[in-house]
Symmetry: C2
Subunit: 143 residues, 2 copies
DNA sequence: CTACTTGCAAACTTTTTGCTTGCGA
DNA sequence: TCGCAAGCAAAAAGTTTGCAAGTAG
């Protein structure tokens, strides 16, 4: 499944006229492979063995490219750095308030919320974000 | 209502053993008065007439105090600075993707989501956050 | 009185930018 | 070849910290 997802993603980039490079390929495939919604720093550390000279700017640049093409979503949390999620199916996140881990979960779509919110606020609503916060299994055990 | 809310808040701070200062009072009452979920910079600009020497550090310090005592909530969004919300009733936010404005809306509690998420992820869930994104009325007209 | 607050500036973190060199198509 | 991409370092932007001086209780 991951292999197919990579092919689809590569096709999407090609169609958008985005040039492929080893670094770009590595970042993308790492994102698709992991389920951990890594930060820029985690990506950087994971790939520095293969690309000792790669700079963080390259990672940021590529993440923006992926975001523009619609291959990844940026998750932002107050204190910490952004995390990047290459799972583009509609889903939600459970965020650990202790260690920052992010885990996906699925739930029936909340389209009705968007409608209600639009009515209540006068906004033209186009998307929504739902997250639950708490302790992940690891942190629960350790505490 | 705002006046009572201020009294309640002051009492809460007193009970927590927090000393009152003119700056602290001004920041708190500004937060309770406004509905606009201001950023630190907005608070700073609003109060610089009354407190020409007040530094942003003072605002950050006080916001942390208020947060610790449970008087305000910090809202964080990727690109921009944090916003601070002194409405502690359970409610949700509509965020303008163009100008960053944040408007409250109410919706039946999503307690069920927390349960489902806990079951699906193994997290011990303690809270959730729901936001809708789109264009606010002003930005809709201008575009 | 004295511990908590303020004000100020410097430090820190994360992300962006400018510019030169390199490389994919 | 030609322009996009990478690497690097410096700059932004937001937030935090350390310390001296002031003040609430």
């Amino acid at each position: 499944m991951s292999a197919e997802a990579l092919q689809t993603a590569l096709a999407k980039l090609r169609d958008a006229g985005v040039r492929m490079t080893p670094q770009r390929h590595a970042i993308l495939s790492y994102l698709l492979k992991t389920m951990s919604h890594p930060t820029v720093d985690e990506i950087y550390k994971s790939l520095e063995e293969k690309f000792p000279n790669m700079s963080v700017a390259t990672i940021y640049n590529n993440l923006r490219v992926f975001k523009d093409v619609g291959l990844v979503r940026e998750l932002t949390y107050g204190d910490a750095s952004s995390r990047y999620d290459a799972n583009m199916n509609e889903h939600y996140h459970a965020v650990c308030t202790n260690c920052g881990a992010v885990k996906d979960f699925y739930y029936p779509s909340l389209a009705q919320v968007e409608k209600e919110a639009a009515k209540a606020t006068g906004f033209e609503v186009s998307s929504h974000r739902l997250e639950v916060y708490g302790l992940c299994e690891d942190c629960r055990i350790k505490q």
